[in-house]
Amino acid sequence: MEDFEMGCLDTLDLEIDGEITASLSQASKWAKFISILIFCFCGLLLLILLIGSRSANFLNGFNSRLQQSGSLVKLNNIPLFIAVVIVAVIIVIVVYYFLFNFSRKVKLAIIAESTDQLNKGLGALKIYFIIYAAFGILGIGISAFSLFKLF
């Protein structure tokens, strides 16, 4: 047993020590807080949208706000608008589900002292960063296109 442990430490010097456990625990706590807040916000948005879309004044009110803000876009199709918002909300929920999963798995890893759960948690955070990067590239592309159109 000692040989195995020494072998591990000889080749791979890094350890999950108390300080790292504290950092992971803190990251997990805040990640859970952020993801739950985002889920609540998405739920609230859907609720407002569904209640608002039943009101006759919803479209007129929304259009007048768009015109006040100087927008040339006019909203004519409520179902399409609701569908777009629902798709956006689903995407956000999926992205933050990975952050929530990171939090859950890392917390489990700390409690159960399991490297298996730690790996799953780190994998979830990696996917969260990958999806975020994909949207970042998309955003930069759209910005570059608008900038190009300005010239």
Binding site: M1, F4, E5, C8, L9, T11, L12, D13, L14, E15, I16, D17, G18, E19, I20, T21, S23, L24, Q26, A27, W30, A31, F33, I34, L37, A109, A112, E113, S114, T115, D116, L118, N119, L122, G123, L125, K126, F129, I130, Y132, A133, G136, I137, G139, I140, S143, A144, S146, L147, L150, F151
Partner: protein, 147 residues
């Protein structure tokens, strides 16, 4: 002691799978931070170009005031984003460096920075919600008192 999937993380060094996960995580954290820096640069450039394009007809003072106003509004967002992404970039850099050099101290610093990154986002969320609630309460109060 048998080496099962439930090996204790306090007694063993980081295994290959965990090392790989940390390495990839650090890499993507750095990519995210760099993309955020590029995005900030693009939005600054867009504001400057749009200002030059649309405010040709205005005098220098008015154009300067409008551009200054637009940049001023964005400044708070840029500063917060800059601080956050510098922390994220440093976290990724330190974790990667620690994995290459097997440096426990740098590894601790890197993970501490990653935790701080999430903590700052959480605090920004709390401040934003508080501000929104405050504005909502003030708006309701003003509406009630104005009849």
């Amino acid at each position: 002691m048998e080496n099962t999937g439930q090996s204790t993380i306090f007694k063993f060094g980081i295994d290959d799978a965990t090392r790989q996960n940390f390495s990839e995580l650090a890499q993507w954290a750095k990519v995210n931070a760099i993309l955020a820096f590029v995005s900030m640069g693009m939005s600054l450039l867009t504001i400057i170009v749009a200002s030059m394009k649309f405010f040709d007809s205005l005098d220098a003072y008015t154009a300067g005031t409008l551009v200054g106003g637009m940049i001023g509004k964005q400044l708070v967002v840029w500063i917060i984003s800059l601080v956050l992404n510098i922390i994220l970039h440093n976290a990724g850099k330190n974790i990667q460096r620690a994995l290459v050099n097997n440096d426990q101290r740098v590894f601790n610093i890197g993970l501490n920075q990653l935790a701080r990154y999430f903590k700052i986002i959480g605090i920004i969320f709390i401040v934003s919600i508080t501000l929104v609630l405050l504005i909502f309460i003030i708006a309701v109060t003003v509406t009630i008192f104005n009849g």
